[in-house]
């Protein structure tokens, strides 16, 4: 029942989509019928185009995300724990935060060329800020009493960071990482659309340019499905890590 109620809205949208396109309400070159998109999806999947491009895209997103998590938690923790570092890095982070990272695509092409490095770097930039900010805010928000409690039980200052501050900040850090997962998909597609060599963003762009709209929609569906799956997987992982919260 639960699965049915969860998927019902999606099924209804698919049916409506099919109905308005088959009924001629919307011309097929603006919105191809759902059934022809589905047929095209099967063709792409079995024809050997989809899998390598998906793997390329996912590898980039995962690499950029992973580097951003490592660098972002380090920078965020540095800012939260050392006043001097916060003074130096704080204004840079605040200035960089509202900038749409896709605005940097041309610059990044100049720096890194048209290869994987440029795209991975853009994904890294997109994921970096939410990780820094959530780590910083999470560590800053830890209840002082928890730290005192650990210190009076015999924990050193260094041990407190690892054994108390990080686990106590984990719920907020994970919230930031979830945002970063979404941003990794955003930057993955937009960078591949512009720096078009391969990947799912490249497929969307090139099918669109060539008027192959059912195929283009099929790839959009793949990106949507991947993004949804990544988010669900992340929520499941968070739920496992934070299982102590009833």
């Amino acid at each position: 029942m639960r699965i049915l109620s969860r998927t019902a809205p999606l099924l209804i949208v698919a049916l409506l989509w099919e109905a308005i396109t088959r009924g001629g309400l919307v011309p097929a070159d603006m919105l191809p019928p759902f059934s022809s998109v589905a047929v095209e999806l099967v063709k792409l999947a079995t024809g050997g185009t989809l899998l390598p491009n998906t793997l390329d895209s996912v590898a980039r997103a995962a690499t950029g995300f992973a580097i951003a998590v490592a660098a972002g938690t380090a920078i965020g923790a540095g800012m939260a724990l050392w006043r001097g570092f916060e003074t130096a890095a704080g204004p840079l982070v605040q200035a960089f935060y509202p900038l749409p990272k896709s605005a940097l695509i041309p610059l990044v092409i100049v720096w890194f060329g048209l290869g994987d490095t440029a795209k991975t770097f853009l994904i890294f930039l997109g994921c970096l800020l939410p990780v820094i900010l959530s780590t910083y805010n999470g560590l800053r928000g830890v209840d002082q009493v928890l730290v005192w409690s650990a210190r009076s039980l015999g924990a050193s200052r260094a041990a407190v960071i690892r054994e108390v501050l990080l686990p106590a900040a984990m719920p907020q850090i994970l919230t930031g990482l979830r945002t970063a997962v979404a941003f990794s998909f955003l930057l993955m597609v937009s960078s591949e659309l512009i720096i078009a060599t391969n990947g799912l963003g490249y497929l969307i762009g090139s099918y669109g340019d060539n008027g192959a709209y059912p195929a283009m929609f099929a790839v959009i569906l793949v990106v949507t499905g991947l993004g949804f799956a990544a988010d669900r997987a992340f929520v499941a992982l968070s739920g496992f890590l934070l299982r102590y919260r009833e």
Binding site: V145, W148, A150, S152, G154, A168, M170, L242, Y244, E246
Partner: protein, 265 residues
Amino acid sequence: MSDDLTGIAIDHLSHRYVPRTGQAVTALDNVSLTVPRNSFHALLGPSGCGKSTLLFLIGGFLPIQEGEIRTASGPVLAPGPERGVVFQNFALFPWKTVKQNVLYGIGKRGIRGAEADQRAQHFIDLVHLTGFENSYPAQLSGGMQQRAALARTLATDPDILLMDEPFGALDAQTRRIMQEELLAIWRETRKTVVFVTHDVAEAAYLADTISVMSARPGRIRQRIDAGFNRTADTSVFKSPEFIGLVEHVWDLVRDEVDEARLRSH
């Protein structure tokens, strides 16, 4: 002034802080206090009298600005495992089970393996949490969380137990049960206890000696020897001696509350 009969010696201690908005506040003004070893001392006073500040200074959590605090291990400069602390809001590690919480301090004392396990179990049993070893704090009631926090602190075997309104967040029935149990545990372990409270009956029931504090600036107004013959349960609440003591202490506290109210107007 400190000898081996002294648990804690506080000498001419003053503490000021500047709130984010407004002027410097003298939280403690020239406080001197000796708590004999193995005795139970209550710090009693209206809110804002600096009693928690005093406790946190003894804990080594706040920098000492003026004066000195000494224990058997020397002057207090930082937190140390010879001074165990129990906080009002328990301060358990929410990501650790009851047993893992209790094991944390034991591990910091260098005890591992089966010996650590046995020790953790002993203190979990002592506070009557047997069967809840693998529960997370969020799965426990407030009273049970404070039991876990008490077990965690006792398991590190501190000489001194600092308690900051430990039962303040609990309902009245749970509070009374916890008071009885704390007294029973204290009889068994004989720690030097400093217990912060604003509950007159709680102080009178638990403590050997009570310091009544005044607010702004925080001073010790009077030190009372409660020294009355405590039995292990709260039935003494009905005895004439107990009622007399509570009335006496309450008069002192009432004066402080009245004065504080007048000054704030």
